[in-house]
């Protein structure tokens, strides 16, 4: 059953909510204005903690807990809104900005106030030029209405929000690489610890959150923790904008409460509307290219962080890619690992060399259809040398496609080797 009231995709309730006046009319920016006047930052952090909001950028880390890691009394602090959105299959951040941009800006502003910061950056994927313009305009409207700038609404609070354009590098979505990139450098990850909350942008305490995460915040504060928690599950409260693509009839973004079974997202006529041509499901990648694969036997998995983890994968960015029996596993693994190879930043050897060799072998097998006796052990040995040895999660993610493909469909690799 579709939601009656959306938390994020509110254009479905209020079609013109992308216009500032309409957003204002449905109560937009009021939550922020009231919070500045009546609530302490600490009280806001507590509500976000109590709401159980979890980061939508991939790891599902509890947002309020993350905010609580900021060291006391150290300023300035920075807030970064991550809109690098480059994970294959993920396309909800872009749509949220297109259709409900003011809620994103209010979310950034309210969160900035909650963590006591006066400068926030929105890091936009370089290709999202039109979305960046939309946000620039939404920010300008917020300044004009007095919600940003100096001494906001006479409360003494100052806040500036800037947009920073990326330049085409998936790795810049990784939080520390994003900070390097914001500082004008190569987007290569930093060693952790120190974690960004302690030492982030320009060496200062920094909080980084996904677009969808921050867009939840005004709704939580406006409607209250109990209302928010009436959606989703105990451990994964609220809703998620799932991006579903692949061989389904109606690919797109659908906002669902956490916990809805995978089958419903794929089959319901309200959502993806079943498989193209009624063909059987072969591979389900539930959380972007970095997630281990599932198969048709996992269709009853509840779409929440715990449920997908129990099925052996991860919810990740909520990008569900569904493939039918027309695809071959070695090809899919090849395409995905080619992506990771292309995007490897080159800083560490297991990832830089590992992805190179995986793709070399997979290209020959999948594209040229030519296998050699040792290919399968070679592939196993390459990803095992990567696993647990990469500097950041990009390299670890590159293990997933090949490992899943070999585990779930070994016969397809054997067939190529046999020729």
């Amino acid at each position: 059953m579709p939601l009656s009231e959306y938390i994020i995709m509110r254009e479905l309730n209020h079609p013109d909510i992308n216009q500032f006046a309409v957003y204002r009319r449905v109560g937009g920016w009021e939550t922020y204005a009231a919070a500045l006047r009546e609530q302490t930052p600490a009280a806001l952090v507590q509500q976000v903690k109590d709401s159980g909001l979890r980061g939508r950028g991939g790891a599902g880390f509890p947002t309020g807990v993350k905010w609580g890691f900021l060291p006391k009394g150290v300023y300035p602090r920075y807030l970064l809104c991550n809109c690098d959105e480059s994970e294959p299959g993920t396309f909800n951040n872009h749509q949220i900005i297109d259709r409900n941009p003011h809620q994103v800006i209010e979310g950034v502003a309210l969160s900035a106030y909650a963590i006591e910061c006066h400068t926030a950056y929105i890091y936009m994927r370089g290709e999202f030029a039109s979305a960046a313009l939309l946000l620039e305009q939404a920010i300008a409207e917020a300044y004009a209405a007095g919600f940003l700038g100096k001494n906001i609404l006479g409360t003494g609070y100052d806040l500036d929000i800037y947009i920073h354009r990326g330049a085409g590098a998936y790795i810049c979505g990784e939080e520390t690489a994003l900070m390097e990139s914001l500082e004008g450098k190569l987007g290569q990850p930093r060693l952790k610890p120190p974690f960004p909350a302690v030492e982030g942008l320009y060496g200062k305490p920094t909080i980084i959150n996904n677009v969808e995460t921050l867009a939840n915040v005004p709704r939580i504060i406006e409607k209250g923790v109990a209302w928010y928690r009436s959606h989703g599950t105990e451990k994964s409260p609220g809703t998620k904008c799932f991006s579903i693509s692949g061989h389904v009839n109606r690919p797109g973004n659908y906002e669902l409460p956490f916990g809805v079974p995978l089958r419903e997202l794929i089959e319901s006529p309200e959502y993806a509307g079943g498989m193209r041509g009624g063909r059987p499901v072969k591979i389900i990648i539930p959380g972007g290219a970095s997630a281990p694969w599932l198969t048709a036997k996992h269709l009853d998995t509840p779409l929440d962080y715990e449920g997908v983890a129990a099925a052996g994968s991860m919810l990740g960015s909520g990008a569900v890619i569904v493939l039918d029996d027309s695809v071959k596993a070695p090809h899919v693994a090849y395409k995905m690992d080619e992506f990771f190879k292309h995007e490897s930043c080159g800083k560490c050897t297991p990832c830089r060399e590992g992805t190179h060799w995986l793709v070399k072998v997979l290209h020959r097998m999948a594209e040229e259809g030519h296998g050699e006796a040792n290919d399968i052990p070679t592939l196993h040995s390459i990803y095992r040398q990567m696993e647990g040895n990469c500097f950041c999660l990009l390299g670890e993610s590159a293990v997933m496609p090949i490992k899943s493909a070999l585990e779930l469909f070994p016969e397809e690799f054997e067939a190529i080797v046999k020729g």
Binding site: P88, F91, E127, A169
Partner: protein, 171 residues
């Protein structure tokens, strides 16, 4: 930059004729950022917007103005896929080869265009008319296969129609 391709030569002439104005615009951007080294990526965006691509001369002058070693500027310009050190074609056609597009036949679309244009992905035609590019997931998987023709996103791309549109552009 001196290149042997005809495309390079035409662009070079164009660059020289309106050089002054563009350098002024670029300088204005750097000034707005107070020549801070951390504005490098913004400045390179502007430079590429003005010149179409980044020449060694441009990179060196940016390095000087932002007080950065040329190696850093070159490193950044080559690290990010968005920046190009070679002249782009007058038109460009980008085929998404991300997973969602791949499983909906993107490779075939690319293959047919490669044949039609006699180019490989990543190349520009000798007359500088068109660049054929392949991209990783454009964030438009909902309308896969996705193609971007001169900045316009085309969803559910059909090879025949695309080939006709490309042929139209090149007329």
């Amino acid at each position: 930059m001196t290149t042997s391709s005809p495309a390079g030569t035409t662009l070079q002439t164009k660059t020289q004729s309106s050089d002054d104005n563009r350098l002024k615009l670029l300088e204005a951007t750097m000034k707005r950022h107070q020549h801070r080294p951390d504005a490098l990526i913004e400045v390179l965006h502007k430079a590429q917007e003005l010149y179409g691509y980044l020449t060694p001369e441009l990179l060196i002058s940016v390095a000087q103005r932002l007080h950065l070693p040329p190696s850093r500027v070159y490193g950044v310009a080559t690290f990010y896929h968005f920046f190009s050190l070679v002249p782009p074609g007058e038109h460009n056609c980008t085929i998404c080869l991300g997973t969602a597009c791949y499983v909906k036949g993107a490779a075939a679309i690319l293959g047919e265009l490669e044949q039609q244009l006699g180019l490989q992905a990543g190349q520009t035609s000798a007359d500088g008319k068109i660049s054929l590019l392949a991209a990783r997931c454009l964030g438009a998987c909902g309308i896969a296969p996705a193609v971007v023709l001169d900045g316009q996103v085309i969803g559910h791309a059909i090879p025949d129609e695309l080939q006709t549109r490309v042929a139209e552009l090149l007329k």
